[in-house]
Subunit: 200 residues, 2 copies
Amino acid sequence: MITIHGMNASGNCYKLQLLLSQLDRPYRWNEMDLFNGATRTPEFLAKNPNGKVPLLELEDGRCLPESNAILCYLAEGTPYLPDDRWSRAQAMQWLFFEQYSHEPYVAVARFIAKFLPADHPRRAELPRLRERAHQALAVMERELATRDFIVDAGYTIADIALYAYTHDAPAGGIELAGYPHVQAWLRRVESQPRFLAQQN
Amino acid sequence: MITIHGMNASGNCYKLQLLLSQLDRPYRWNEMDLFNGATRTPEFLAKNPNGKVPLLELEDGRCLPESNAILCYLAEGTPYLPDDRWSRAQAMQWLFFEQYSHEPYVAVARFIAKFLPADHPRRAELPRLRERAHQALAVMERELATRDFIVDAGYTIADIALYAYTHDAPAGGIELAGYPHVQAWLRRVESQPRFLAQQN
C-alpha cells in the first residue's frame, strides 16, 4: 500500500487526500508534526532532500515529492487527468498556475493569519499577499465565468489543486464575496462523487 | 506554424527557445516589450488573461500559457519527456520544484540585480531571495552528485527548465562556486545536441 507523509492542516497535503478519496484508493497516512521539525530529521531528509510534505512513498520505498507531481502520478490513466493532449496541457497549465501564482499568496496568507500569533512580525506580509491572492482569484473568476470547471474537459486534478487552498482563502483574510463564479465552482467541486472535506 | 510570444531576456521564455532548438522545430517568435506594457493590452489579455509570457499560440489560435506546461506539451512523444510513468513523475517533480522553490528566488534576484536601477527599493529583497536561491541550489547539488541529469532517465525538459535560470544565477549575485556538481551539470546541458545559448 502507498504511504502519504503529510499534515492534515496543509492544503498541499489535502489535495492528495481528496484525490485518493475520489479514486477510492487505500493508503497509509503518516501525520508529520512540522512545527516540531519532523521534516528536518535525517530519516525524512533521506526520503526527501527538500524537506517538505506531502511526500508519496511507494511500497518499494521509492519517494515522490511535490503535491502536483504526485497528483499527476496518481491520476494517470484515470478520468481526473485527461488523455487528450490539449486537455492535458490545460490541466498542466493550471497546476503550474496554482503553484506559482496562487499557492504562494493564498496559502501563505492563510498560514500566517491562521497559525501564527497575532503579534507575529510576518503579519506585515499580509497586505501584499492578499493583493496577489486577489489577482489569482480574478484570473480564476474570468475563466470560471465561461465553464463549469477550470479545464474545458471537466473536473480534473487541476480543480483539486485549486480547490485545496481556494476554499479556505477566507481564513487568510481573502474574502470570496467578489467572486461569484469561483464560489459556484467551489460548490460544484464539493458535489463531486466521494468528495472529502479537509480535516482541520 | 506555432508562435511563441515571449521576451529574449526572460529565462522562462528561453526554456522554449532551447527545447524548440533541440527538437529542430520551426516557430515564429513574437518579441514582447514587457517594460512598455505589451502584455497588458486588451489584445494580449484576450490570449492570456494572466498577462504573462511565454505564451504558446497554435496555428488555429488556441493559446497555452505557463512555461513548464508548454514544455510538457511540446515535448510529449519526444525523448525530452520520458514515457515511463516513474521517470515522467520525476520530471514533473522537478518542473514543479523549479517553479515553486527555484524560479521565485533565482529568477527574481537576477531580475532585480540585472534590470532595476542601483537605487531601486526592491534591492532590499535581494538578501532573502539569495538565501532561498542557495537553498534550491543546495537541493540540486545533492541530487546532481549522484547522477548526470536531474532525472535518472537522462536529459529531459526538467533539465531545460532548471538550466534556464541556474546558468545565469551569478547575474543575480548568486555565486555557483560552492556547487561543483551543478556546474558540471551546466556544462553537460550545454554539450547536448542543438544546444542554444540564451540570446541576451
